[in-house]
Symmetry: C2
């Protein structure tokens, strides 16, 4: 620790890279800023080609690697795949090929659910692609074989959120109609928000599903495990200055700025620079 302390400090000061198909991953970025306030972020949202959900595995892999290559040139010390589809299709490949730590959004949510559930009944909601991939069910059963998983696709949530509808009567009605099947004959005590957009409507989901259910934000849990993994790899920036974060979008700035503004506090947003990316 005492040798090369300047080089080490520079190394620890390298940014954490965050990729997403669009704006959903901003909830992960927000949690990283909140839980790891000394760490610098570089976020890249592929807004121009969003959503990834309906695309083929090969296409998602190709796009994800393009995002990763962009961030590798920025000298990132760790990669956070803040998109469920990209995690499901590319995490293992990225972990095998990159020489920096890589974390996805699925395992942290699954692990938190295992921690919280007392009755072993867990619900998962996500996009159609994520639910069809059974990535959460597999992640949960890999650790705890006898866990009961009830998964439900919520195809209206992402379009609604991307229109900026985050609360109020309309959000409540959509959530009530969508989550209705989950409330019938279901003993779950824990619900995983298996899509990084959903924390933006967490209060609405909690109101519909009831206070007896622990609602887990995979964004909060991913940020928490990022902290663990940085520590395991001796990459935690313990002496950092207040960082300036860089947020890139491949597409339109409008929805990006809108969601950023609803997520980040004034004090945060002063440190966030939003730019257009050319891949």
């Amino acid at each position: 620790m005492k040798n090369n302390s300047i080089e080490e400090a520079i190394s620890l000061d390298r940014p954490i890279g965050v990729i997403d198909s669009g704006v959903g991953g901003l909830t992960v970025a927000h949690e990283l800023m909140r839980q790891l306030p000394k760490e610098k972020l570089i976020y890249l949202g592929d807004t121009a080609r969003c959503p990834y959900g309906p695309r083929s595995k090969e296409e998602v892999q190709k796009f994800t690697w393009e995002l990763v290559d962009f961030l590798l040139k920025k000298n990132i010390k760790m990669l956070v795949v803040a998109c469920n589809t990209a995690t499901a299709f590319t995490l293992t490949d990225l972990q095998q090929k990159l020489d920096i730590p890589v974390i996805g959004v699925i395992q942290p949510g699954a692990r938190a659910a295992i921690k919280f559930t007392k009755n072993n009944h867990v619900g998962v909601i996500g996009t159609e692609g994520t639910i069809r991939s059974e990535a959460y069910t597999n992640a949960l059963k890999q650790i705890k074989a006898d866990i009961h998983v009830n998964a439900l696709a919520c195809p209206l949530f992402v379009p609604m959120i991307e229109q900026g509808v985050l609360s109020g009567d309309q959000a409540l009605k959509v959530a009530e109609d969508t989550l209705h099947p989950m409330k019938i004959k279901n003993h779950m005590d824990t619900l995983i928000l298996g899509c990084t957009h959903y924390p933006l409507i967490k209060d609405t989901i909690q109101a519909v599903i009831g206070n007896h259910v622990t609602v887990i934000s995979s964004s909060e849990e991913t940020a928490r495990e990022t902290s663990t993994i940085l520590e395991v790899h001796h990459l935690l920036n313990k002496n950092g200055q207040v960082p300036v974060h860089q947020f890139y979008t491949t597409g339109e700035m409008e929805i990006f700025v809108k969601i950023s503004e609803s997520l980040f506090q004034q004090s945060d947003s002063q440190m966030v620079k939003i730019k257009k990316a050319r891949l």
Copy 2:
């Protein structure tokens, strides 16, 4: 992954070692059994020389290494230091010298508190030794410099728990008197149980401190991070049979069996063998 699959399976089936000064770490073992039901445990509680709290740093280090040496002979794949005092005094040394992953109980509780707190005011309760060491305050501020920490030693809790008083009027009275200073002029929304004994009286503590405070069990959080770290190091046992756990005590069996019985379900206790250890 495909080569040497038999050797790899045998390797993954190696036990997780858990050490503690006595019985408090059984709450960590219990959470490991609950959150990682495919993993085999070997627990060693130094009941004969408990408590470690009032001992010198050198003595705690010497005793801890004796426990670790006992477990290394059992071919453990990871070490969990389920004792706050041992974590405070030996974690860095163990992490530097052992070639298996080592986790303590302090960082996981600190990270969970950072995740849960919304108002940045966190309370910590523990033994006099743990509170005096300021280990939690340092761990919290290392990650989040501006966090407000209110720490309180609760010297009566461990003796009370070791007498088997886990609920009822006496437990409530002791908790009310002890926690009184924490309830005055305190804005905390999150409280860390910074001693592995305390989850045994979590309900009583929650009742005294109020439902508006999130009470964090460092045992639950340590088990959760053990899962993360096993995965990072490719040590997670994904195909395990129901394991038989071995629990060793250096001292009397009585309190060990008593606390085990109040923690482990019937189905668990059938898989737990308690033995006397000779270091």
